[in-house]
């Protein structure tokens, strides 16, 4: 079991957003979390990554058997948890090379490894750029600065490739992508999949799931997981929209 969430309640300021989430992800599994806008998908991702703006009021989370809520965001990262942001942040003037070098070497230090030499590092960057299939000029630019929406998303997948996470959470990595970019992103994710790694793919549409085939699909609605099923659920949602879920929930 890589991730176990028990009865998670969390909110921002006075507002309660997550109202009792339960979720289990086993090693090697791909989970999809779907749900209408504002249901709390990004908030859940933020809690998992340790963002302090979100306050956990109840519940517990175990990551590889460890109490995740006691770990700092950077420790979670170094323990192999990766978040692909729905809205990647721009850091003007900081080159992708400098940024990734700092990140990769922090991860290595955590594992007791020496920092990579400049040439080894650049070699690694080249390999991963090819693997993910992104424009090689991307790496010479400042972190996300002036990137198009699609470039930002591809850059998240590239960073994921560099850090080789055990659990990757991709928050609407597909939104705002044209079909070619979507393929690049999905291919990247599929190529990076290892038997010992798991992913949580957060998405609004079923489209991405044509390319990344999930083992399990969850529907998050108003801060709760209201439905969990196999990949057929995604198709059903695509067909019928979210309204029937809403009705079902209201009936219960």
């Amino acid at each position: 079991m890589i991730l176990k969430i028990n009865n998670l309640h969390a909110g921002i300021g006075e507002k309660t957003i997550l109202k009792g989430i339960n979720l289990e992800v086993r090693t090697g599994e791909v989970h999809a979390i779907m749900g209408p806008n504002g249901s709390g998908k990004s908030t859940l991702a933020s809690v998992l990554a340790g963002r302090e703006t979100v306050t956990v009021t109840e519940g517990e989370i175990f990551y590889n058997g460890k109490n995740l809520l006691e770990m700092s965001p950077e420790e979670r990262s170094k323990e192999g948890l990766f978040l692909g942001f729905q809205y990647p942040i721009e850091i003007p003037g900081v080159s992708m090379v400098a940024f990734m070098k700092a990140a990769v070497n922090e991860h290595r230090k955590y594992r007791g490894l020496e920092p990579l030499s400049a040439s080894d590092f650049l070699k690694l960057m080249r390999e991963k750029k090819e693997l993910v299939g992104i424009d090689s000029k991307l790496a010479n630019r400042s972190v996300n600065e002036g990137f198009s929406g699609g470039e930002k998303k591809k850059n998240e997948i590239f960073q994921m490739a560099m850090l080789e996470p055990k659990l990757s959470i991709l928050d609407e990595t597909d939104s705002g992508l044209d079909i070619d970019a979507l393929r690049i992103v999905a291919n990247g994710v599929n190529k990076l999949k290892r038997p010992d790694s798991s992913s949580i793919v957060i998405t609004h549409y079923q489209r991405l799931l044509d390319y990344i085939v999930p083992d399990i699909v969850h529907v998050l609605y108003d801060g709760r997981i209201v439905k969990t099923s196999g990949k057929e659920l995604a198709l059903e949602l695509e067909e019928k929209g979210y309204n029937w879920i809403q009705k079902e929930v209201n009936q219960n």
Binding site: G50, T53, P73, G93, A102, E106
Partner: protein, 482 residues
């Protein structure tokens, strides 16, 4: 969200000053206080000619008629000028056998500061003039430079060896009447560097001066004079540090630069005077007048400064663009943290035709500090076709600090063009979290973000110093965002 930002800020504002040690060495000192006798004493210690003593006394008499300037956006405590020692020279033990070996204690001091004074230890070939308190203790690579005709020595030596050059240029760019601190410096300046690049010479190595304040209760009043003759080029760097003390110490320097026709001077500063402690106790009061004169046509003077130290900084490296087509540049990063105050900027005085100036100022404020940019662009009547572009950016870490911009534009020529842009931004919690999520801790994240913000300026520094400056930016903000 706000709480979180505050916490982040508290963590980053507690970096330590690494150069705060004190060297226990005997020194020869003048008694405390400032009067004509003290000035005569300094002048006689340096075996100066009569004209220079006259210059000092005139400056002193003028200074006595003046008041401390109050226009800066600074809270300056009263300075008791009679409570300061104006001359303090470390006693060197081994000057005996004619060699210019330096005292082992002093050598150790500069080694510790990362400024080796043995020429063979310099990988990159940077010539250094090392100044401790009131005297220059060693200038390296003098002979190598002399081979191409470059004069690089302490100011005191220049007065003895090249009196004509000194007399011709001293005070020609910054007259002693220029301002209160310029008058004070002109009266009591003790040492500094002198540099002359002859016609047509591209100086083969970087020149630098390293200023160290060591003795307690003393002020440092150094003077640098840099003359680049026609068609010459030099890149010059200045660095400075001081011990950690509870009292404030005064530093009032003058730098004068003259660039003749087609000459180019690049002057870079990494200012790291002791900034005071977290509660604002101690630190250097840094009142500096720096000015370059682009005297000949097509000449160029470029100031680059990375300011991280000092309790109070009052400094406006400026260019007088006299020669037609001459170019002035000012690139600055000023960091203030804790209770530091900085009022810094530049003056670009366009006198000649088609003169150009560029100003890029990046202020970074953290803690309870106040950081002001003050800049004047003057287009005089004859400055036809002159252009200025100014960009002033402020970055705030937290909400207890202040950033201010005071641009002054005076135009007497209709064909001159002045452009001014200003931005203010905050380091976002989202930027820091993004770095954290990739495994980078908050201090390092701030280091990265701040260095990214200042990159345009850092890139102007000579390579070796750019790396130092990057570390310095990070260290001076450590613990300031939490």
């Amino acid at each position: 969200m706000e709480d979180n930002q505050d916490k982040l800020l508290n963590e980053v504002t507690s970096g330590d000053y690494k150069y705060g040690f004190y060297t226990d060495i005997d020194s020869e000192q003048a008694p405390k206080g400032l009067n004509e006798d003290i000035i005569r004493l300094i002048s006689s210690k340096k075996e100066e000619p009569e004209w220079l003593l006259e210059f000092r006394l005139n400056a002193f008499r003028y200074w006595r008629t003046q008041k401390m300037p109050g226009w800066a956006n600074l809270k300056i405590p009263d300075i008791n000028f009679q409570d300061i020692i104006y001359y303090s020279a470390p006693k060197q033990k081994s000057k005996s056998n004619g060699s210019d070996d330096i005292d082992p204690e002093l050598k150790k001091t500069f080694d510790k500061l990362g400024i080796p004074l043995e020429e063979q230890k310099h990988l990159s070939g940077v010539a250094v003039d090392a100044v401790m308190d009131s005297v220059s203790v060693k200038t390296t690579f003098k002979e190598t430079l002399a081979e191409v005709g470059v004069i690089f020595c302490s100011f005191s030596e220049a007065v003895k060896e090249y009196p004509d050059l000194v007399k011709r240029y001293l005070g020609s760019v910054v007259p002693y009447r220029d301002n209160y601190f310029a008058a004070l410096n002109s009266a009591v300046f003790s040492d500094g560097s002198f540099c002359y690049i002859p016609k047509g010479v591209r100086c083969p190595m970087e020149l630098s001066t390293y200023f160290r304040i060591n003795a307690a209760n003393t002020g440092q009043f150094e003077r640098t004079l840099l003359v680049a003759d026609e068609e010459s080029y030099v890149s010059y760097l200045e660095g400075c540090t001081a011990p950690i003390r509870d009292e404030n110490q005064l530093h009032a320097a003058i730098v004068e630069i003259v660039a003749e026709k087609n000459a180019e001077v690049k002057y870079s500063t990494v200012q790291n005077w002791y900034p005071g402690d977290k509660n604002g106790n101690g630190g250097i009061f840094n009142f500096v007048t720096k000015r370059g004169m682009c005297k000949g046509e097509n000449s160029k003077i470029s100031w680059t400064q990375v300011e991280t130290g000092s309790a109070i900084t009052w400094k406006y490296p400026s260019c007088v663009l006299k020669g037609d087509n001459s170019v002035g540049e000012f690139f600055s990063v000023a960091v203030t943290n804790n209770y530091q105050q900085a009022d810094t900027g530049t003056k670009m005085i366009h006198l000649g035709k088609n003169t150009k100036s560029t100003v890029v100022s990046k202020g970074i404020s953290a803690g309870h500090s106040q950081n002001s940019y003050r800049g004047l662009v003057r287009m005089s009547r004859n400055a036809a076709g002159a252009r200025n572009f100014s960009q002033c950016d402020s970055l705030l870490l937290g909400d207890k600090c202040g950033a201010h911009t005071f641009p002054y534009i005076e135009t007497d020529n209709k064909t001159a063009i002045v452009e001014h842009e200003a931005t203010t931004s905050k380091i976002g919690e989202d930027q820091i979290f993004y770095c954290n999520q990739r495994g980078i801790n908050t201090d390092d994240a701030i280091g990265l973000i701040v260095n990214g913000y200042a990159r345009e300026i850092i890139n102007k520094l000579p390579m070796e110093f750019a790396v130092e400056a990057q570390k310095l930016l990070q260290i001076s903000l450590e613990g300031s965002v939490g």
